[in-house]
Amino acid sequence: MSQRTSLKLVTYNPNDYSLGEVLVKDTQQAISDSSSLSAILSLFFQWRDRATCHIVLEGNRSPIPASMDYDREDRFPSELKLTVVNEVPIGPPGTHKLKIRIELFRQCYEFDSALLDASVSDGICLFIVGMPGQILSFKQRRLPRVTVSVEDAGSLPDCFGLLGSEKLGPLRVTEIGTKAIRIALKIETQLESVILGGTEIPVEKVRISKGDHIYSFKFASHVHLGVVFDYYRQLAYPHIRPRCDFTAEELLGLYSDTNYLGKFQTEATASQRLDSLKDAWNSASQEFHRITADYVSTDDDNNLTGASSASLAFFQFAKPVWVFHQLCAKTLPHLLEQSGELYTWRADYLASRTEDLSVLAWFDSKSRWLERIYVKFAFHKNRSAKLRPVAVIRKNFSPSINSGSLPTKKERFGNEFRVMVDNVNSFGGAYPKFLNASGILDAIVSLEPVESESALNAIGATLASAVGADRLRLEVSVPFENKDKITGSDCELLHDVDRICSFDKSSLVDFIASVEHSIAVTQRKKVLGEVGDAA
């Protein structure tokens, strides 16, 4: 059986500049039962092309990249074969154990194995080791980071350093993540800020590694996050671009082509909708990175292939709730990786934000690819995430005498406001009307079983009153078993979405891992029909 061990100190690694981000809380397990060991190694051998393997030597030496395999004819493997290019200083067989580290889908596994044999031929070292009796499993808690090549740097904004009033640069950025930047600096200095694309961003020196200076960002505003994320995503998500780079007509064409709007019933005609969407997207672009982020994906010819958004849509227990929404993608096999980027950038982005937050996502379980991502995430990679079947019911609400009893929060969206109500286990929000192109963010959500409709009605009435509507149509999401609790002659059960998933900011890395793993599986399945859209 798997058993938890005590908290482990993170070993200092001079090549890892994100030490401060390595959280090991609740993420280390010692695994020794045969079935689990088999499953881990089987996972590695299934996805060797997406995994890394290193031999970790004692002392402070860097891990050595290795290739690991076993005799594929053996159903009960008794030994592993590790191949290393270049000679490795390891003693004679029988006297040593090798520490081996494998990483896959953002999970790291480490084990010791007895060295059974070692040989060298043509500069290739072959080690035969026994099977591990125990594997330590660690979750990677680091956010992704990317290398900036000289060629990449040419197409990215210049980076300057600020030291008092002195401006240094342009500087050579060698790596960037959303938390830190690595700069090749020839002089010993302590920058106070860096200037990326004309925006000054406070930084703090972390350390010097191999001659490069590593600084962590100290975001003072959402503008800083936006600038850094936009720099980083050009490398990490090369197919993703800001939505505002495209016209409303082009975007509407994408939503029509992917049948995103067709999935949702709406009263607006196409032309009315276009006008409304233009206004809404204009408003949203003014709040980019403050309370919403909207990106699209393009193919190599710069044609739109998909879009997705993340917006601050609710508050629950006074904590901001960001929603993954408005995802559409052309379902072509060669665009699968890009479709994945439409999911992962949002997780990456929200994990980079400085404030604490929760995440909420609705989806349609008929898309088995989405169901796979979320079940893998909520039941296997992160058990704190809540995934449940919901009923989504459209219902009209009117202001009532008691509506003033619930406090509201307002967030500016350009010339409009979003109004949000936080009522313990339920919460809601409304407007601007096309914050989501289909209007699905005018909504009330109850993640817990509903005792009576009154709490939801109070939210609806408060929202109707706050936005000055005589009749406000909202989409009410309740646990599926409570769908009969929502009553009224104008209630309409919607079938476009039937799952809801909510999770904390700390789970976002696991979410990215689930997306990456599911994409890998789907690519092998090559079943186009399983790639679908999300709400």
Binding site: A39, E73, V375, P389, K525
Partner: protein, 310 residues
């Protein structure tokens, strides 16, 4: 530690159930224990979606269906889904799953449908401590049921009689035990497993009474999976060659039987053992590990012959 990643090779496995989230939970629970078959797994809550998938893919050969998955009885649902795979000529199999308490009627219906192998609680596929064992048991049942389906007992008896006559009592029993022993630790698919079990019988029948196999394309294809060139000397290169495993094992069994008839079995096994160093091919290491067992097969075969003569 077992990594049997070729066990379910060649077909897809489908999970079907009406309960929200349950089919994907089962799919992912199996995938977690057996990452090697994750790409073969698909799950659906809608019977129509599952039917469309089976029809489109045509290679869904194993089904895990909850007893309430469709509006029709589960055995009918199974037949409708399986028909697309069975067009290829091979039988499909499945298991029926229940939540909570088992239903006596369902249990009876499963027992009356030979291609439904088990009636299982969903918990055994959801519990991380049970799913691995459950899938291994289902695989064993699958292999056995497939064998019985394409080789019914009377046919097995007839083929065995013909083969024993052709090979002689000692060879027949020696190869039979040896191939079973060799197969037990190898990463063989369900089809290779059955093929290896019967290849020596089918080859003997093909030589002595070819007309017997002529109307049975399945049996001939089983034999073709194993027939190949001679293995030659028992060396690391020969046993580690890229020849398909089933052909290599079959050739090795025949080579060892030949050595037995020449009185050289012990010497050959000693030679193999001396080559079985760490990193040596699996078959060499197997011969070293099971040397004494293989030598008892030789003795047993002699004893059987002696008993027959007596």
């Amino acid at each position: 530690m077992e990594i049997h990643d070729r066990a379910w090779e060649g077909f897809r496995i489908l999970v079907l159930g009406k309960t929200s989230l349950l089919p994907m939970q089962i799919e992912q629970s199996i995938a977690s224990a057996h990452p090697d078959i994750e790409v073969q797994l698909s799950s659906f809550e809608s019977y129509d979606q599952a039917f469309k998938f089976c029809k489109q893919e045509g290679n869904v050969g194993f089904f895990l269906i909850t007893e309430d998955a469709a509006d029709v009885p589960f055995n009918s649902a199974f037949k409708e889904l399986a028909v697309h795979y069975e067009k290829n000529g091979f039988p499909a199999f499945g298991a029926i799953l229940y939540h909570g308490e088992p239903n006596a009627f369902s249990e009876r219906l499963v027992s009356k449908t030979p291609q439904l192998l088990e009636y299982l609680p969903t918990s055994v596929l959801l519990n991380p401590n049970q799913v691995d064992m459950t899938m291994r048991q289902l695989w064993q049942s699958y292999v056995l049921s497939f064998e019985q389906k394409i080789l019914p007992k009377p046919l097995q008896d007839s083929l065995n009689a013909l083969a024993e006559d052709r090979l002689g009592v000692e060879s027949f029993h020696f190869i039979s035990r040896l191939t079973n022993n060799l197969s037990s630790e190898l990463n063989l698919s369900w089809l290779e497993n059955v093929a290896l079990k019967w290849a020596y019988v089918l080859e003997a029948v093909e030589e002595s009474a070819p007309a017997v196999l002529r109307p049975s394309p399945h049996l001939r294809s089983l034999l073709q999976l194993c027939k190949g060139p001679s293995i030659g000397n028992i060396t690391s290169d020969n046993l580690g060659s890229q020849i398909p495993l089933s052909k290599k094992v079959f050739a090795l069994a025949k080579e060892l039987d030949l050595a037995r008839t020449q009185g050289k079995l012990g010497k050959i096994l000693d030679g193999a053992a001396s080559l079985a160093k760490p990193g040596a091919p699996k078959l060499l290491r197997h011969l070293q590990k099971h040397k004494n067992t293989i030598l008892t097969f030789e003795l047993d075969a002699k004893n059987i012959k002696r008993e027959r003569l007596a």
